[in-house]
Symmetry: C4
């Protein structure tokens, strides 16, 4: 197994997952002569499902960032062993699950029941992704440094890993705060996505590229 | 990050988005003994959903064109910086959203309510795509010309960029005309798709290839 | 635009289209205490939707064959011009539409209304695919032979093209026979798929590989 | 046809199939004031559909393993003949069908009717996949060893093939035991997925890598 194939397959899964997100955006029905409380115009109906767009953009950017970071990580790898393939598969599974988690979040955000759990699962899916990513990075940088494509000083390896692990923290906080409010959880996840995606954010992919 | 990976991932997202468009074409139900006004034959039912096909073909060709242009653009690039990755991600997001926008257009085109907004959003999605494309091209050609894979004279860079920016105009017009009639908007978008896709059209990909 | 990118994008669209076919296979509901005529067991319900499987296998194999033939064709190409990109996009569109055509066929095959039209559209989609394929091959072999990666004697080019064009005929017949019976149309399409896919069939990909 | 293209297309189909699995995980509706027996909380509703998650994880890991094994197999191949393309297409078809089989299993596992058949089909789909894989490997190693990219001693070829064939047995057992209990079938499939995926399992991909 070459890293080329590992990248190609991972790219495929990530590209499909990121594009499947759009299936969560439904064309709303309108009821021009419906009762008060129902949307009578398309504008109203589209505006009312704003959680769908917010969750879509957040998930899209987050998957885009993990894709960038994934390549930075894999580029360091000489040849994968079986543990790396396994951890990578778990990482891909946590990404593949995001269209569901995104849909769950968008569906329940404004509900009066289930909204806290939905937010915790949404943020928890990102948390799982960050944990698998850090685990994979740890295996690569600390346990199997002989498989790196070129030698990296131990000091630098620890620094890369520390940043990778620190990426777990904000998602843990966002997940914990789902008890308080699902809006807070979504806001944190969205802010992280914009921060890391936007070239000014220095803690994310930019620093590693 | 190599341009090869950037292309491979972009190709993946574009290929999935263009193929997901087909999910908008539903198999219609027929009512052989239904009331007048309902379709009693499959031919009638299929013919009645013509906006679905019109929007499908328009979106399919438009995504196909943006794919061609995307490669012409990326081929000029030596190595992407983080801003390029970010702008490319926004471009991909505007493409990934098209199956929804296409569905919205097809669903509301013949309705007596919401049809103007649906057309504006449909054309607006193409407009966003054209804007992100021009922005990415501008960053590449004007701000970071040192990242080009081979030097391009300033004169030629400005000409390429001017054409890229001028591609925004017809979609802006189509979006504005949605106030008048959604049919006009769809007709403009369809005409642009055919014009650029067809090898005779000189303003689109043909000129750059 | 290199042929590598053309192949990669075409592969992506074909791979997504062939895999989306599975979405047409629905998990049936059963009615253990339903009225006579309804399926009371899963076995009955699954058996009853046999047209879904027949259409799935036929379309899957047919797309698989077109994928093989597509590569044989593109491998001969040195560098694509814009007409080739355009014709290839039309070919991909005819492939991307197959999940819908397959669903239409499977849904209406056993109906007493619409079954002939559904079969004609199903077979007609394959016909369109064959026509676009032959057109693309013709452009490549006759009109732009200077773009071939290596010279092919005129005699051999005509022979390849003749075979490519003759592939249109059986689908034209299958489409015409939809007037008689949709079962005949499906049987012809299925037989063609098996004949070309199976390594013994000498008229299909085997001969060109 | 090069093995590179064969791998790229196979990768595409497998990546789409593995990612489409997520569409089986539906966002459940809750009925806060519903009758007893209905779920009143999201936690209850999500917990109740545990078969969906169990089947998802099992199928995801199994497809991930077949992807790894597929590459180990194809890497040995010099140039594919038409029989290899055909057998590979059948293998891909058995993989592409898994989102349906997974959905069937998850839907009927807890039902009092159809659960045995659903489990047999689920496990039977894995069985078919294992059979096609072994057949492809047999063709490659025994019938066409001259197409291998580098010579492999007959002894070692037989050993690889024996392991490939022995992979069929547990799925045959799991399918047979569907008569007894669908839970047993799912448990065996899940155990196999974890055993082969987890780096400690020595009978699966690990041994071949």
């Amino acid at each position: 197994m070459s890293t080329g194939r590992l990248e190609a397959f991972s790219d495929g899964v990530i590209a499909v997952a990121i594009t499947l997100l759009v299936l969560n955006i439904q064309v709303p029905a309108i009821h021009p002569h419906g009762p008060p409380g129902e949307c009578r115009t398309l504008g109203c109906a589209l505006a009312r499902q704003w959680p769908v767009y917010a969750a879509f953009v957040t998930s899209f950017l987050t998957i885009g960032i993990i894709w960038i970071n994934h390549h930075v990580m894999i580029r360091r790898l000489g040849e994968p062993d079986h543990m790396i393939l396994f951890l990578n598969l778990l990482l891909l599974m946590s990404i593949a699950v995001l269209p569901f988690a995104t849909n769950l979040m968008a569906t329940y955000l404004k509900q009066s029941s289930g909204q806290h759990l939905a937010a915790a699962i949404y943020s928890g899916a990102f948390l799982a992704m960050a944990v698998f990513f850090a685990t994979l990075n740890r295996h690569l940088l600390l346990i199997k440094p002989d498989r790196l494509s070129e030698e990296i000083p131990a000091e630098r390896r620890r620094r890369i890993l520390a940043r990778s692990i620190s990426g777990v923290i904000p998602y843990a906080i966002a997940t914990a705060l789902a008890v308080v409010s699902p809006y807070v959880t979504l806001a944190i996840c969205a802010a992280l996505a914009v921060y890391y995606a936007f070239p000014i954010g220095s803690g994310g992919a930019a620093a590693e590229t």
